[in-house]
Amino acid sequence: MSQPAPEIQVCVLSQPRLLGAVRAMLETFAERIGFCETRRGELVLAVDEAMTNIIRHGYGHAPDCRIWLSLRELPSPRRGIRVEIEDHQAAFDPEEVSGRSLDEVRPGGLGLHLIRQLTNVCRHERRSEGGMRLVIEKFCDDASTGPSPAGTQTPGAASR
């Protein structure tokens, strides 16, 4: 890749108790980049949801798998952050599982919806080494909550 190195790269074990430390790091990084409290809270939630999904659906709660994150300041003039979140799980098709309709009241089915809603760019890729890469971008001056429309409403179909 010809893009500059990420400012911060993290490899974290797939354990829920470690999520808080990653959130704290991202929150502080976003603050230094110039995100207001609301926007950085949204970014942190989106990334937390992605890690939560990997732990639950990707790794089925196995505590010794790995999640990789890279944090990058977006090049000016666009102020913002790109976060890439990678796993080594069996791939799933995010088009197939675009979250539930928000009009149903039931537990769950909210994660993918939140990730799309809270970010300016949100793209799933298959890694050539196996597993998935979720690329998220969030801009400092994102006035609305996210651009990406909720896709088709077919919850709970994918891997594991």
Binding site: V44, T52, R56, V105, L110, H113, T145
Partner: protein
Amino acid sequence: MTSVDAMTIVEEPRGDALVLRPIGDVDLSRSPHMRERLTKAIASPAKRLIVDLSKVPYMDSSGVATLVEALQHCRKAGKKLVLAALQPKVRSIFEIAKLTQVFDVVDKVDGAGA
């Protein structure tokens, strides 16, 4: 240390209501513990459960799912579930999920008739 953390949840009976006050972030590591405590509270004689979220600065969808589940169980048991004193970040996840209409949401525990 296990992978799932216990969290402090203060319980306080108020007349026929029970106030539950979780303290700290409610994420995937803590929502299972909150779920357990809610299940117990629903099985108690209390007619209303008031979840005081004033000490919860952060909640993710696993916490929201736990509360939605508790709401369903309360309805089945003929009980009321009230959410009180949501901090702004927590309020906004309920708003995005269009759940502020579904729950009884009040500004203060005292406003929950407790």
